[in-house]
Symmetry: C2
Subunit: 339 residues, 2 copies
Amino acid sequence: MAEKIRIALDAMGGDNGVEVVVAAALDYISKDPSVSLILCGNEEAIKTLLPEKIPDRISIVHATQEVAMDDLPSKALRNKKDSSMRVAINQVKEGHADACVSAGNTGALMATARFVLKMIPGIERPAIITQLPGLINNTWVLDLGANVDCTADHLFQFAVMGSELLNATGERRNPKVGLLNIGQEEIKGNEQVKKANERLSASELNYIGYVEGDDIYLGDVDIVVTDGFIGNVALKSSEGVAKMIRQRLKASFKRGLLSKLAGLIAYPVLKSFAKTIDPRRYNGASLLGLKGIVIKSHGGVDALAFEHAIAVAKTEVQSAVTEHIEEKIALHMKNGKAD
Amino acid sequence: MAEKIRIALDAMGGDNGVEVVVAAALDYISKDPSVSLILCGNEEAIKTLLPEKIPDRISIVHATQEVAMDDLPSKALRNKKDSSMRVAINQVKEGHADACVSAGNTGALMATARFVLKMIPGIERPAIITQLPGLINNTWVLDLGANVDCTADHLFQFAVMGSELLNATGERRNPKVGLLNIGQEEIKGNEQVKKANERLSASELNYIGYVEGDDIYLGDVDIVVTDGFIGNVALKSSEGVAKMIRQRLKASFKRGLLSKLAGLIAYPVLKSFAKTIDPRRYNGASLLGLKGIVIKSHGGVDALAFEHAIAVAKTEVQSAVTEHIEEKIALHMKNGKAD
């Protein structure tokens, strides 16, 4: 029997909590024999959701605390040392798991993972990256909210981490990296962006230059690099507009009998269309830069979406993403900052 | 006969140039008897697009130069003193027009308008504002790209200008103002945003606190204030995702005979849906903070969208937006910065 990929799940995290995580775990292992899952959280609560005979590839590690969605990261770090989130991260630290997944509070997850796992030498800040759908191809964007103010060095490190992620997972060979900017200004961008542009231009990365917000969805670019404030706003605005469009489309097909009839006939087409932009298919953001694989699931998702986050964790373990980033950053450090 | 509202049009600006502007002008005056239009640009080119007997409410002011879409603002300002754009702005300066509209290069328009018309005392930076569709109601966002780095004072001035715009035009009474931020960080936002939050909280504006990117489209907020880099990325990302969705929806209804048939039946519903998110209906961004009304049309639009920008100009003239902002800012200056 081949060795399993072991993934620890924060069973209590997220808006929908333990029900969703346990349902996702059961469904996931029934479909993927290569993975075993460690459910971290309230043992009793977890057990009532599991079949009497617990499946072979599921184990439980008890945790007495939970991080609330509105807990301050510093408070979670200080006062919740036995939270389901921290216990899941500990599994990775102690070598019992190859990766962990949490749908909990992003700030707390970031702070705890950083404290427990530590940063890869040469990376100053962790970054959140996720895949977004595009017209030409999918695009990965980082940072999505881990860092409010970023220096040119941080942006450069994000570009290296993003490139290595895609190289390692085989999603792209030598991915095209773009730096998010705006088109209007005389000499584009702010100081950090201009300096990062210089460093990226001089690097051996496949840097294609400045891109704008619409290029995330329409452009021929694989990785879009920006600071966490801007990345977060871009992501949230996109989610907002997509949700508004979905709801308006639905409403249009409910206005009057004829529209309803048309909707009924168009249903299969609308459904297949909805699938292509289903945010659940893009669930699972990676916290890059840590000495270990940590995946953040969206907080309010269902089991299917959570399973997608587990799949992201598995892919990163299989492709040894952490080791690839470590090697690449070590190389950049050796070559000095002028690479 | 009541006095007409006089609007100067940069007839040569935009990707589609003089054809679109002249077509829009002719159609617009045929529908709205209260407006007269001054077409600024190459007289010969304009005349060949007009009927032999030029309509009463259209006049031409010749300009020998054009600002290219990729001209640097400083170059346009220095070397193109007889551009159609500058001539249109001059019409406002000299009192021949009540407002002007251009689909040209945003940076050049901003720089030229600022140079020719000057700023309202107390406003340090102009800001670009536009209306965006929302699920609950439409939302106005500023700044959309005029300023890369903004101080807390700038953000505060944007909030005052946006509020006065909506108060004056009657779009909202005492509009709800939100400050764009992200949710993840321990102590949210960067320094400027935190300081602006304090000032706004202490002001008499209807300030509702921090909002996130998705609130632009889903939230109960009328005005979203942010710096030009972030605002521009939010706008462009939204445009990108909306365009991607439209194209994917179209493609879904073209995949195979059954889908095409379903599309035919659903056509009226899809068309009425498309109308509700049609970006042309939101064309016409205002450059606020100047001593005069300047409206920026999107560069690549058709005549219908350009007409919408003319309508925005008309509304702002009718509601004396510039005077309202002048008064309000003078009041804030009198009350000191601690208001």
